[in-house]
């Protein structure tokens, strides 16, 4: 790839605007930027959420994300990628994950952002525990996330 992607795994919050600005600053070859932000919700069908606690496998997480970033740059003509994933305790309303993709045209930016999110959901070694007023539980993997990731293998 002709650019250095940004991949960070961190406990502290991130600044979506600043990260996006970094990706595009001083450039006139980028025509489309897609920024996806995943946010901790305050309730689910199962009830209220006090917090999410994200456990991760540190070394593998960074390597695994880098592998998918590299795959995205092979599949689409991208001009920039930023992936930031938080771990630790995250409160409702706080950001969890950021994926920013930049390209000359929108189709590549959208496709790569969706691809990366689908893979982060199903292949990046992070595990969410949800804290509820009455106790905590590990979040179960969703079948539709597996299906979303699988579609990229068919094309």
């Amino acid at each position: 790839m002709g650019f250095a992607p940004t991949i960070r795994i961190q406990q502290q919050p991130f600044d979506t605007a600043a990260e996006t600005a970094l990706l595009t600053a001083g450039r006139t070859d980028i025509g489309a930027v897609v920024a996806f932000t995943g946010i901790c919700r305050g309730s689910e069908t199962e009830g209220d959420i006090s917090a999410l606690v994200l456990e991760h496998y540190p070394d593998m997480a960074e390597e695994e994300i880098a592998r998918h970033v590299a795959e995205a740059t092979e599949r689409w003509p991208l001009l920039g990628i930023t992936v930031i994933h938080r771990h630790g305790r995250i409160l409702p309303g706080e950001d969890i994950v950021l994926v920013v993709t930049a390209s000359a045209h929108r189709q590549a930016a959208f496709a790569a952002a969706e691809f990366l999110m689908d893979y982060l959901k199903t292949r990046a070694p992070f595990w969410k525990q949800v804290e509820r007023p009455d106790g905590s539980a590990w979040v179960e993997a969703r079948a539709d996330d597996d299906a979303a990731a699988a579609r990229w293998r068919e094309s």
Binding site: H56, Y57, E64, H85, T122, P125, W138
Partner: protein, 83 residues
């Protein structure tokens, strides 16, 4: 060989990591999971439904039939729920 555990696999086994010396007949990831299961009820609990426990070899996702030859670190964990 170093073993590392995450999420409810870690909680059930009661530790985050350990060093083990494997018998010579433990060749694949599935062999290792089976061998661990025989080591005590905390392991049996973690692997009670072996199909849902995922593995990584030296930080790369691996299938049950993958060979352990030359591997230094094996991780066991539930399906991932990041993103």
């Amino acid at each position: 060989m170093r073993l590392v555990y995450f999420a409810w696999v870690r909680e059930r086994i009661g530790k985050a990591e350990e060093e083990v010396d494997l018998p010579a007949d433990i060749v694949t990831v599935a062999d290792l999971a089976g061998w661990l299961t025989s080591r005590g009820e905390e392991y049996a609990h973690a692997f009670e439904n072996p199909k849902v426990v995922r593995a990584a070899l030296d930080r790369v996702h691996a299938k049950p039939e993958a060979s352990l030859a030359g591997v230094r670190e094996v991780a066991f964990f539930p399906p991932m729920t990041g993103g």
